[in-house]
């Protein structure tokens, strides 16, 4: 084994970790938003990422425009998400959360197989819209990766602003805090739920498209993303938007550093460990201030 790991490799992995973390944050924010407002643990969230990726790939192949593909994917999956929520999850409102896990698990099976049926068993790749690299610590680093992180941050920032200001942001936050009183104030809670699910789904889809040039779009990326997003949401504190973002970066950095030492397939165990340690010692979330 070598004496030490060169500094520039650590630096590269740090940037990689942040980039991957921002994409994961985009996925996890949607998941935590959905959980916060309707107590639904969306087992199918990763599959929405995958479907977004495939939809984006098809649109890109058709039009040659990456940004259009991103938009189309986000909108299409938003509609799909709304339809799924309205048909499958709305009837389950008020039932215990484990029922929703089962229902979303069923959805996940259907979505995964549908993807294979629609797009076939082989992976797709997306060509990045921004080529070219810049020099980062003696190595060449692709611009696209940086652009991805910036874009993901912008989308999350947009979500945050939307929630904080504006009438519908207030509706969403009120419904998240007290669904009953929100209804008593005339807020159409069932519609708010559907819209939030659609927003979460579109964010997941966007992640899938953004991730496309980095890792390709494969049939089993769904399970990967779902698992990681779960871990992030628990480590970050369920329902806590800021926490999920920090946890995403934290987990991705851990994995990036771990992959310097072990293979990437094994690096994921580091995330698992983080989850288990969090659950044992800080179950409300690592990045949540200890409840008084």
């Amino acid at each position: 084994m070598s004496v030490g790991i060169p500094l520039d490799q650590i630096a590269i992995q740090t940037v990689n970790g942040i980039v991957n973390g921002m994409i994961l944050a985009l996925v996890a924010s949607g998941l935590t938003l959905i959980f916060g407002i309707m107590d639904v643990v969306n087992f199918a969230h990763g599959d929405l990422v995958m479907l977004g990726g495939f939809t984006g790939a098809s649109t890109l192949a058709l039009t040659g425009n990456f940004w259009l593909a991103l938009l189309v994917a986000a909108l299409t999956i938003a509609v799909l998400g709304a339809a799924l929520q309205a048909s499958t999850l709305r009837p389950l409102l008020g039932r215990d959360p484990l029922t929703t896990i089962l229902a979303t698990f069923g959805m996940s099976l259907v979505l995964q197989k549908y993807a294979i049926w629609q797009w076939g068993p082989s992976a797709r790749s997306l060509k990045e819209p921004i080529t070219g690299q810049f020099t980062l610590f003696y190595l060449q680093y692709p611009w696209y990766r940086v652009a991805t992180a910036v874009l993901a941050a912008a989308i999350i920032g947009g979500l945050y602003a939307f929630l904080k200001y504006g009438r519908y942001g207030i509706w969403i936050r009120a419904t998240t805090q007290d669904r009953i009183m929100a209804q008593a104030m005339g807020i159409p809670v069932p519609i708010v739920h559907t819209v939030v699910f659609a927003i979460g789904a579109s964010m997941a889809a966007a992640s899938g498209v953004l991730f496309g040039p980095l890792g390709g779009v494969t049939q089993n990326m769904g399970a990967d993303f779902t698992l990681r997003a779960f871990i992030v949401v628990v480590v970050g504190g369920m329902g806590n938007l800021g926490g999920s973002i920090m946890a995403s970066i934290f987990i991705s950095l851990l994995e990036a550093y771990a992959s310097l030492v072990v293979s990437p397939a094994q690096a994921v165990i580091v995330s698992f460990m983080a989850l288990i340690l969090t659950l044992l010692f800080r179950p409300t979330g690592l990045f949540v201030p200890t409840p008084k």
Binding site: Q177, M185, I187
Partner: protein
């Protein structure tokens, strides 16, 4: 305007309301009295749709709204102020008010008008308008809960024990706000434990026991009926 006819409500298997019949006319202040647990709060919850009645009719302006989804009732003119206030703790005071203010068909001018009116009656809310609801004191939260309901410009407000847990001098404020609402022709169905206040502000009172209305009287009449008071209120 509001009429309950033979309403039966259950919580799971518990039969809470055994056929409640109540009337509230436009602009009336009606009191609903009774010991703890007789079903007063459940009656209010049934009216605003948070609990679905098993039998009976809840008629508002001629329409039977029993079983309607709760968010459909505020547009009709029904506002609810629950027993534990339940303001949105993580929203600011202004955002709390906006949950009622941000409705269809309210012009910007009208919004400012409503806000000003509420700030006029509750100056402390203007002071704290950018503070989180959870940082307010109990009395201030009660003010906010009522103000929030007023933002809906309702025809009737269901008030569940507004003076509970409040300091005596705040009771005066509650009395004042009920008077203001009455002047504006807003009807009030008031559930209260505070007998003197209720008798002062109501034009009629119902007394409930074990999920059914047992007695109805005007305040003047009730003041003379000591045995009734003792029987249903234990005072």
């Amino acid at each position: 305007m509001l009429a309950l006819r033979d309403v039966h409500t259950y919580y799971g298997k518990s039969h809470i309301l055994h056929g409640v019949t109540i009337d509230v006319g436009p602009g009336e202040v009606v009191g609903l009295l009774g010991r703890n647990g007789v079903g007063k709060s459940t009656t209010l919850k049934t009216i605003c749709g948070l609990v679905r009645p098993a039998e009976g009719r809840v008629e508002f302006e001629g329409r039977n709204v029993a079983g309607w989804a709760p968010h459909k009732l505020p547009p009709l003119g029904i506002a609810y102020v629950p027993e534990d206030r339940r303001i949105f703790r993580l929203l600011t005071v202004l955002e709390n008010l906006r949950t009622g203010l941000d409705r269809r068909g309210v012009t910007e001018a009208r919004r400012q008008q409503l806000l000003e009116k509420v700030y006029h009656h509750f100056p402390v809310l203007r002071e704290r308008r950018n503070q989180a609801g959870g940082t307010l004191s109990g009395g201030e939260q009660q003010m906010l809960a009522i103000a929030r309901a007023m933002m809906l410009e309702p025809k009737i407000i269901l008030l569940d024990e507004p003076t509970e847990g409040l300091m005596p001098r705040m009771v005066g404020q509650i009395r004042e706000i009920i008077r203001v609402l009455h002047e504006e022709r807003v009807a009030i169905l008031l559930v209260e434990q505070n007998l003197p206040l209720t008798l002062e502000v109501s034009s009629r009172v119902y007394l409930m026991e074990k999920g059914i209305v047992r007695h109805q009287a005007t305040p003047d009449e009730l003041r003379q009926q000591h045995d009734v008071i003792r029987q249903y209120l234990g005072v």
